[in-house]
Symmetry: C2
Subunit: 337 residues, 2 copies
């Protein structure tokens, strides 16, 4: 029997712009042994998220930065392979922030069991995981859309955006997605039931948004920032709400850039509000139950974009995200060998 090795992806340097190969380093370590009250997991699926890029920067954010030399932070689905913990047994499939590595020790904090009979593991990183919960609480709690209102979503073909638009439809709103490319746009309208989709790569986002939201934008759920945010602000309806979930267009842009027309918030008597999903931890169960119900009765559709690979494929997987090459939740499935 070959002795298993724990391959780890560590942050070697703080990237400027997109992460370069030299911003990462890989280490092989012996698989650790759980102490009393701990258990060992083997990671099977890694969640690839835009926010990861922000964790790589120094400075104040909603979580501490990943330190140079540390294993890169990542959420994942893993299987318990050894346990000295009363609540977790060998064979359990669990969700947790285990990092970009093959094995991890856990003491149970922040780890939840996932029911893979309900849906395959990657779905628990997507619609039934943090992505779905972010869509659910961000739209309903912060956006507060009312039936008949127009909800516009940037990054609409992503893991969060695709769920936001579907929930907006379920709640009787008009859902308009902004995404890159004809294929994604077709998917949003034909498969997910969005009322309209705008291909920002086709140009003149402002004119397209005006055509599709003639009465203005009541809720703008922003995953992207930049031009999309400015276009939505320019069309914000009276009392409109901008939900700040992400700014993927800005994460690799060291110069940064705020919305030049932010004073449209005054013109529209609108608001722009940020939120962090972790604050809703005590309501996750409510959110997952509702999302699972919708998923079960077909009102909500799930899509995962699963890349097969290994820990060493993580840097490329992250770049895939920033190329906008994925549709739905991007997941790196680690080979079972």
């Amino acid at each position: 029997m070959v002795t298993p090795v724990n391959t780890q992806c560590r942050l070697a340097a703080r990237p400027v712009g997109l992460a370069k190969p030299t911003d990462w380093t890989f280490t092989d370590q012996a698989v650790p042994n759980p102490a009393d009250g701990e258990f060992l997991v083997r990671v099977e699926y890694l969640s690839i998220d835009p926010a990861m890029r922000t964790w790589m920067n120094a400075g104040r954010s909603y979580v501490p930065p990943v330190e140079i030399g540390a294993v890169m932070r990542a959420a994942g689905i893993a299987r318990v392979v050894e346990s000295r913990h009363a609540d977790f047994a060998v064979g359990d499939e669990v969700y947790g922030v285990f990092g970009v590595q093959r094995y991890a020790l856990a003491d149970g904090r922040g780890v939840t069991r996932v029911d893979t009979t309900l849906a395959p593991a990657p779905v628990h990183l997507g619609v039934l995981g943090i992505s779905g919960l972010t869509a659910y609480f961000g739209l309903l709690d912060i956006g507060r859309p009312e039936p008949g209102q127009t909800v516009v979503i940037s990054g609409a073909a992503g893991s969060v955006g695709s769920v936001v638009g579907q929930i907006a439809r379920i709640k009787g709103c008009r859902a308009i997605g902004i995404a890159g490319g004809e294929e994604k746009c077709r998917w949003l309208v034909d498969e997910l039931g969005f009322d309209a989709a705008i291909d920002y790569k086709a140009g003149d986002l402002h004119a397209q948004l005006k055509a599709h939201a003639p009465n203005g934008v009541d809720v703008f759920f922003d995953n992207v920032g930049g031009e999309a945010l400015e276009a939505a602000l320019a069309r914000l309806a009276r009392g409109g709400r901008v939900v700040l979930c992400g700014a993927v267009s800005q994460y690799n842009n060291a110069a940064g850039g705020g919305p030049a027309n932010y004073m449209q918030l005054l013109v529209a008597r609108g608001s722009m509000t940020g939120f962090v999903i972790f604050d809703y931890a005590d309501r996750y169960a409510e959110g997952v139950a509702q999302l699972a119900t919708w998923l079960g009765n077909g009102e909500l559709r799930s899509r995962e974009d699963v890349i097969a690979g290994d820990v060493t494929d993580f840097p490329d997987a992250l770049l895939t995200l920033f190329r906008g090459a994925n549709t739905g939740k991007l997941v790196l499935a680690l080979s079972t060998e």
Copy 2:
């Protein structure tokens, strides 16, 4: 007897940056006669407001732009000199948006009688007028400060900002003003009772704000935009509220610029909300009554910066504002000759 003439200041061109002399034109017209249901006023005091600069631009805003060739929009205090209106008598002192001109016709809409026995006319353009009401509703309704919280105000020595800080103090908050120059800062602390004042001209606004608001900014009342807004966002406390009242640093800046660090709203779980005082018209009486009470019992102090001149001095008066040369409410008192 000399026949009176109505001197008017009209917008000749849409300015780029600060308004130039050639952006204005002056016309002398015969004083008009009121029709049935109208009255004629002689304007005595013109309110000089930062927002005026925004009214000169084309494009969507909270009021239509002043048309090229039209009399420049301005609020003022005037005396009724001829009346064919049942509710307004010759000699009445009134507030209204009469424009930058010596005489104006009115039909009573948007015109209110002012009680100059309560306070001199200029105060009715300041603390007891739109400036005071903007401070009152903007801080209390949008900012919703709680006792003990830190309220930071940009443009703190201006007509709105100086009232915001005083109301914050009355409500048991810590009030920190940002203003330009030592003299203004001293006035805020020594005369108005602000807890601290930051001179942005002394440099390193971020460090000064950190020193004075070590626990973060709960409410930021923004009249200025630009660096002040970015500094406040960087220090926003958890759940902090940014009240967007103005962006005087941006009004003459065609390139514009949004807050590059707007995603601090996410980090802080904060919000940024715009408002327009006209929406509170049905609550003006409540606001004026409260402001007058505070003014009467000495909890609130008023200061007007009154320039004596004529209609033709309006362009210079407006530039005074953007030079930041005024302290308190800037008013142009038209000569009584």
